[in-house]
Symmetry: C2
């Protein structure tokens, strides 16, 4: 029997991140990458590696994570997607699956990503939002936060907002969108960029919250960017409000 060449597939994945220690495989902790890799391997009958576009942190959610893998056989696309979803746990779902060029790389080829960060500003966070929305009980000055969010748009060196441990060469990124939308007691921060540094969005949100609490002024954002010093920005906001929404190639 002739062995057909393996085929590369691009998958779009939606997951509730609460039960997982993030995307990236690590010893001793359950991760999304591990669960998907094990499921695809089980279907393939041999070990298959999965490469994801974004290493979402522990507790972070995804509506549109993208990954690729090489599958050894050539079953039909709906067949693999259906089989994977039947085998995956309830909190991980393959939204779409399609064959791509063998040179496609989910992480390296990504040109733009969109995230949202959800905040509930009030006393009674719904149990239905538990581990899915960040709760801030103290009233926030939303307009100040909106001005600060807008000031982050454009191309900047985001050193002040990157995890201190970040080792990438360039910390310059372009934010195409940076916008806080209020709907009742819910605030959603929309952010879109050509890439993000580790903890960047959660550090931005932590800073926006301090502005909303009146601990900082919205005008302080530009000097904060200019300072290129992580120690000066706000704390890292919790993972539960963060959703990876979409990735462009």
């Amino acid at each position: 029997m002739r062995q057909a060449p393996s085929k590369r597939y691009k998958v779009t994945v939606r997951y509730v991140g609460s039960r997982y220690h993030g995307w990236q495989i690590q010893p001793k902790h359950l991760t999304v990458q591990q669960v998907i890799a094990e499921t695809v391997s089980r279907l393939a009958g041999q070990p298959v590696s999965i490469i994801g576009a974004s290493r979402t942190d522990s507790g972070v959610h995804a509506m549109g994570q993208v990954a690729h893998f090489d599958f050894p056989h050539r079953p039909s696309v709906p067949q693999i997607q259906k089989a994977l979803n039947a085998l995956l746990p309830w909190d991980i779902q393959i939204l779409s699956l399609r064959p791509v060029s063998p040179t496609f790389h989910a992480q390296k080829d990504a040109i733009r990503k969109r995230y949202v960060y959800r905040i509930f500003n009030g006393m009674n966070l719904s149990p239905f939002d538990y581990e899915r929305v960040l709760q801030i009980r103290h009233p926030l000055d939303v307009e100040a936060m909106q001005r600060a969010a807008a000031a982050l748009r454009g191309t900047h060196d985001f050193t002040s907002f990157a995890a201190a441990t970040t080792t990438v060469k360039s910390k310059t990124r372009t934010l195409f969108d940076s916008r806080l939308v209020r709907r009742g007691r819910y605030l959603t921060y929309h952010v879109e960029a050509d890439g993000f540094l580790h903890h960047m969005i959660r550090n931005i949100v932590g800073t926006l919250i301090e502005i909303g609490l009146g601990k900082r002024r919205p005008e302080a954002v530009q000097p904060l960017i200019d300072a290129k010093n992580r120690d000066l920005a706000g704390p890292t906001a919790g993972p539960e409000g963060l959703y990876l929404m979409q990735i462009w190639y």
Copy 2:
């Protein structure tokens, strides 16, 4: 020290029903009533019983269940509510608490209740909706379901839609609202009545789904009501889509 008379409190409760075997206390299974009674008793320092307005089934959710209990001391209202919410698990929340007349009865005094039933009609139910929305993969004829829902409005004997084990004397109820609303792939059945029989809403929804699937005609609703025979209606729809929304007194 003088012992102040106990005071009756009315509480409004929101809960994610997935982990619980319904409202009503029962041996061997965890129920919402039990968890609240234990929490209130712990706070009171003595056993306190809780009476709920509706005995929601296993897996059914509530945005506005109402209950009453007699508390032996007289702490301030915000104090009890805060203490209860601090002690309750993440999936049960006291939305409001207020002193009421010692004759108030959460179950007997209810005059009107509103529920919704949520359906996702499509292939990829979001993991965020797991155990919170009923999924129907096969396309539904929503207009036929809407006509059938409207035909249920008014005062009828709902024997055909009551659990066969229902023992109440009168099975006549008045539906003030019975309406299916579509929003994208989500369907929400809104229903409001002076009371509901056991499984009544889930049996109505099971019947509406059969109409949506073309297994019954919407015109068959009136003869079904007239038949007063549980065997003729559709199956009981799953509990995951049902939400107790509001109770009037």
